[in-house]
Amino acid sequence: MKGDHHMILRVIAKCLIPLILIYAFYVQFHGEVGPGGAFQAGVIIAVALILYALVFGLTATMRAVPPWFTRALAAVGVLIYAGVGFWALLSGGDYLEYQALFGEPPGEHHGQHAGIIIIEIGVLCAVSGAMTTIFYALAGRVAEIRDEDW
């Protein structure tokens, strides 16, 4: 490719993006025992996509991860979160009462464990989807008046 002075950037970005994604999942699942959680992990996933868009261009990114998908991801995230709440309602508990999810006796905590993990996955979807959607909306904006027309 002629005059490809972005070669180093491309190679490094290709190496880094998988690592960033893995780190996002580390933050997600390590959030249980240390600092971190789904908000941070969602932003990190979005960062990986934004880095891809910066290096390889917006059209390539939108081909890989289409805008309808990021929008749907954000919506599904909210649905997962609220859905766990309704699941608890249907199992006879109060809204978002994790203890009631599997109808366990008071001593056991599988419901607490599962509930928080599912909810965090919902938050991960919602945050990464919303972040990417916002980025697409800002980056994909075309100026309505060209600079020369002012």
Binding site: R71, A72, A74, A75, V76, V78, L79, A82, G83, G85, F86, L89, G93, D94, Y95, L96, E97, Y98, Q99, A100
Partner: protein, 511 residues
């Protein structure tokens, strides 16, 4: 009575979870709408969601009225209150919830003809999703008993409101700066609120409203409590469009899609005002010395300034929607004035006006929305002669307009009468004169429109009728007839307002 049959026929799960289901049902339907492929399907789903909320709000009201303590407390996640989030509904919350869900239901019915005309079709699903989020946020503010949770719901409703206002850009580009102004001012208001909550948290160590209220008497004179109080009042005042903080409102109402204007005018400032009352009376008890001074020297002058100055501004507007928007600020002034008396009868007159104002502004903006469908532009000149081409729409507009003025046999008269009683009892006869004067100004600004509508020849006479579609006329006439019905038999809203004031002030019930 209807409420009792509702209570008897309701299943157990609905009675147990009704408080939390009011905001949660629209909240879970909203993301589905965002993915909905069909605009019509999205509209039907939004009606179903608001109808469900209305049902649960009525049920909640029935439970509150029939229970002895008059308070429903729901523990989200089954965590007991000072630690977990509590949904706490008493007579005041139940009244606000009824207004929000009722107006939301009527708004979502008439959404179809109005939205299809003003919003591009692929965006309708997302638009209605934002509407349901706003609706859910407002319901959440009105039902939660947790100071921080209130902030979260306030932001849910505000952020979606900014989007809704900006959607008016398809019709008028000035919607964009209006939405941006609202964004800045609304965010300032929300930040002030959360800063205030932070100060209170530092002083009391709790976020539960009832718990804060229980701890405050021991902290009398604490500087951080006073600072927190000031921040909260200013923040909520911004959201409620209290007089000098109302600059975002006229443009936001004038340029947003007409459906949004109607919904916001009937609910958004009301909910912020509810939060203000909740903080002023339930959390900070009025016997705080600085609060007494605040009522007399800050809130009352601001309320009076709003109702006089903004009524004057309304008289000089040429655009009907801007005129109604200024009138909204003036009406908020009446409510603030009622609240600023700090007595049970004052608060109840403020609440009664809040209820009636939702009815009349809802009807007025809905009629304007119907006119927007057929007439380009909403200046008073565009309204000329519409009394002949759109008689049903304009008659409803006239009824609601008369109610706004406060003509006898309409709801507006009852609430102004109540406010007058409250002011007289307090010895503020001069304020009564100002209320009458400001109503007199309302005669002018409503009269200008009515004169154009019924007594001027149409600007461009044409044979075809410009009546609004049936989907709009039905909710419009429901509101217009409610204005007359509650003007003749005000026992239902007056009872709600009285119980609400009693609940806010924490007095013994005097039903």
């Amino acid at each position: 009575m209807i409420l009792e049959t509702l209570l008897v026929s309701a299943p157990d799960w609905a009675i147990r979870h009704s408080t939390v289901l009011i905001p949660i049902v629209p909240l879970i339907v909203a993301p589905v709408l965002a993915m909905s492929p069909s605009a019509r399907l999205a509209w039907v789903a939004s009606i179903a969601a608001t109808a469900a909320s209305l049902y649960f709000a009525l049920l909640t009201l029935a439970i509150v009225q029939s229970s002895t303590g008059g308070v429903i407390s729901y523990h989200v996640g089954n965590w007991p209150p000072p630690i977990g989030i509590e949904f706490r509904v008493d007579a005041l919350n139940a009244m606000i919830l009824l207004i929000v869900t009722g107006m939301g239901f009527l708004a979502s019915i008439f959404a179809w003809p109005s939205v299809i005309a003003e919003i591009s079709r692929p965006k309708i699903g997302l638009f209605l999703c934002a509407f349901l989020l706003c609706f859910a946020g407002l319901c959440g503010v009105a039902s939660t008993g947790d100071a921080f949770n209130l902030f979260v719901f306030l932001e849910i409703s505000s952020l979606s409101t900014y989007v809704l206002v900006a959607m008016g850009a398809g019709r008028d580009r000035r919607a964009l700066p209006a939405a941006f102004d609202y964004l800045i001012m609304g965010t300032l208001g929300a930040s002030f609120y959360i800063i205030g909550v932070g100060f209170l948290y530092a002083a009391t160590g709790t976020l539960n409203m009832a718990d804060i209220a229980a701890q405050l008497p021991a902290l009398a004179g604490n500087r951080s409590v006073q600072v927190g109080f000031a921040f909260i009042i200013v923040g909520l005042g911004l959201k409620a469009a209290m007089w000098p903080l109302h600059q975002w409102l006229p443009n936001a109402y004038a340029y947003s899609p007409s459906f949004v204007t109607m919904f916001l005018a009937a609910t958004a400032t009301k909910v912020a005002l509810y939060a203000l009352i909740r903080w002023l009376f339930t959390i900070f008890q009025p016997d705080f010395a600085f609060e007494q001074a605040l009522f007399t020297w800050v809130l009352a002058p601001l309320g009076i300034a709003a109702m006089v100055i903004c009524s004057f501004q309304a008289v000089f507007q040429t655009d009907v929607r801007r005129m109604l928007a200024y009138s909204s600020v003036a009406q908020v002034g009446y409510m603030i004035l009622g609240v600023s008396l700090g007595t049970a009868i004052g608060v109840s007159s403020g609440l009664l006006h809040l209820f009636n104002h939702a009815l009349m502004k809802g009807a007025l903006f809905m009629a304007v929305a119907g006119i927007c469908l057929n007439v380009q532009g909403t200046t008073i000149r565009d309204f000329a002669g519409l009394g002949r081409t759109a008689p049903f729409t304009m008659t409803a507009f006239a009824i609601a307009g008369l109610s706004l003025i406060g003509v006898p046999l309409t709801a507006g008269f009852i609430s102004k009468l109540q406010l007058g009683y409250a002011l007289f009892e307090h010895g503020w006869w001069w304020a009564v004169l100002l209320v009458v004067f400001s109503s007199f100004l309302a005669v002018f600004y409503i009269g200008r429109v009515l004169q154009a509508v019924f007594f001027q020849a149409p600007a461009n006479p044409s044979k075809h009728r410009k009546e609004a579609p049936l989907l709009l006329l039905v909710p419009l006439w429901v509101l217009a007839l409610a204005n007359i019905y509650f003007g003749i038999d005000a026992s239902f809203p007056a009872g709600l307002a009285r119980d609400g004031a009693v609940a806010a002030l924490g007095l013994e019930a005097f039903r």
